[in-house]
Amino acid sequence: MKVKVLGTGLTKFGEAWDKSLLDLAQQASLEAINDSQLSISQIEAVFVANMIHGKLTGQDHLGALVTSSLGLKCASFRVEAACASGGVAVHLGLQSLLAGTYKNVLVVGIEKMTDAATSKISMSLMGAGSDQERKAGLTFPALYALMAKAHMQKFGTTRNHLAAVAVKNHYHASLNEKAQFPFEVTEDRVLASPIIASPFTLFDASPITDGAAACVLSSETRGAGVFITGSAVASDTVDLSSRKSLTEIAATKQAAKQALAQAGIDLTDIKVAEVHDCFTIAEILAMEDLGFCEKGMGGEFVQKGTTKLGGKLPVNTSGGLKACGHPVAATGVKQIIEVTHQLQKRAGKRQVNGANVGLTHNVGGSGATVVIHILQS
Amino acid sequence: MIGIISYGAYIPYYRIKPSQIAQTWGREVAEIEKSLGVSEKAVASYDEDAITLAIEAGSRALETGQIDPKKIGGITVGSESHPYAVKPSSTTVAEILGMGTDYLAADLEFACKAGTAGIQLLSGLISLGKTQYVLAIGSDVAQSKPSDVLEYTASSAAAAFILGKHATIANILDFTSYSSDTPDFWRKDGEKFPSHAGRFTGAPAYFAHVLGASQALLKKLKMTPADFDFCVFHMPNAKFPKEAAKILGFTFKMLEPGFVVEQIGNPYSASSLIGLAAVLDVAKPNQKIFMCSYGSGAGSDAFVFEVTEQITKYQKRNKDTVAKQIKNKTYIDYSLIAKNILTKYRI
């Protein structure tokens, strides 16, 4: 398969008090359309990714809402797959191009979280979990904390391994003017911050963020550019307890295998990756489940610096979910944008030299949906 | 003969000492401990209520007695802390215990004797042959106004008794009840906390009814305290039951095995029933038990039980004796009390 990423648009991630959901969506969308050099009327369909807006505000029907706010009357859709909404929207947009239904589509992921109280947001995000998980009083930090505990029990992973992920991603974010937290943090600071769900501290968790990320995808594949050559989605049980293992996300393995096969490349061809670090353990699991290192060795893999800018395989040069921010449904699209910019040599101070193949990894819930894209220039 | 087939007791895990409560309100604890005689009381957690306690006690009675819940044709839950003013605790308890749908359920309220009233009423269903088993439960998460003296004794527990006709572990030889309109302790609908009439709760209330019911039953059966091995009285504090036993002629040796108030406080509708359970945990075949409950408002239910041969096997099966549960505890400070107030009053 081959679909071109024609244009990208990204708002700053953070607390955007004076911007509404539509303000953010418009900003990112118009930037992406502008970047694509298409006229707005050439957009034939809009895929809107969003997870919790309906729950927080009572406003649904976001496909039509966003599309018409751009002045368009073309096909519109809203896509939801928890935190994988953005990646899944890209996957579906891509399918519509491959099917020949449309030639140019806009995919925009948006989340406006800061208007609501934290406990309400926490409860809304638990919509990505199961009924029994909600009844047990679980939160997403707690669900991933359970996976971290299991990983620590089985493989001896330590809190320092977890902290290494946060430290690295903050360093990357310090080079990204769109990031929510563009500053470095030390391991001590990470370990000493308040506990939210043992063993996680505040710094093991991605924040609450407003933001929008958009890209224009095209079936026009002539000429140079960045192409999506692999796009795979896999599922697993929503309930963490029902999975076969607490120390791996099987859907990651499944989707990765498919996506690599589609793109006709090996794992070793990947030069840069954006993975789903909603919590520090998630990046460690991703390194293992994607196959970049052995199962159980993810902590060490990150700690020794392989995945830091300058290392053999820079991961999350955007700052990841932890330091760039995590406007839930925007993240998957932002990941596409970061890798696209890397392949276009547009990543400025975060540029990975010679990056020509990249991977994005977007997860929904505690691993119930995983979507992986391969991009090549 | 109608009697007890099995029973279950549940005492919550947490305990608070009077010193923690006194400290909160700036009082001198020594005098309070001396006058009430309670060294610690059981505190239910914020996710427990009279229904969850009743379920726990009921499920223990079913398990130890090896009884099929579907064979229970009547259930009463007696409490002064029913979670709903309108919606019966007994149907939620019955549903979760697996009783099906073919049963009579009724909630009872009679202050601390709502549990024992159920035993008297439900035994009627057995003697009429309406059903094989009935289940009477006394359960309370007792409320008291913060800073009121009741805070030192009002506690939480539940006890469940299954009655039937065959293979009883203790037969009910007889019972009486003594009632009158006496305003010693009350809580009007809509009020958060109960009120009481101070020293009026003594002679004209507790003693008049406990002595009235007990003397009437002893007279009716032509028995004297010397005929008994155990006695259990409602325990609002450590003093009253000791005094009642003394006046009637029972010895402290008979009272002691069921005398739980010093370690768990007063769990209202479960008080005398937990005492009875503690006695049954250690009683031997053919021994006789005298029990008299008391409920403010006011009334007393008096019973005479005779232990059968079946008790020995039953005691071997019983995993959750009262003594074991009294020991299985952890101490808390006033913070759980505060959380419970927030939860219960939906603040």
Partner: protein
């Protein structure tokens, strides 16, 4: 939280779980709670293995320090979450060390 009808349906299943014994395989202590659980913090939630299936359950009547991996626990019935004035009380399964 849940509607009266959802609670009605769920209560019918509780007898199946009451008293069920399992092993506690992993747990976490939660300090930042979602809506409806704020009055309970900190509380412990774990995954219990019952042999035929595993369930996420709040772990009650214990201290985090006293828990051990594979510890035996049994299901008890407790109130779930916070009840508002007009709600029906929801009861559900939690796990207690035995």
């Amino acid at each position: 939280m849940s509607s009266p009808v959802q609670i009605w349906r769920q209560h019918k299943q509780l007898n199946k779980y009451l008293g069920k014994e399992g092993k506690l395989i992993v747990w976490t202590k939660i300090f930042v709670a979602p809506e409806g659980f704020e009055h309970q913090t900190p509380y412990i939630v774990g995954i219990v293995d019952f042999g035929d299936k595993r369930m996420p359950l709040q772990i009650v009547d214990c201290e985090e320090d006293n828990l051990t991996i594979n510890q035996k626990v049994k299901i008890v019935i407790r109130k779930i979450g916070k009840v508002r004035a007009e709600d029906v009380i929801e009861y559900g399964s939690k796990a207690k060390p035995i």
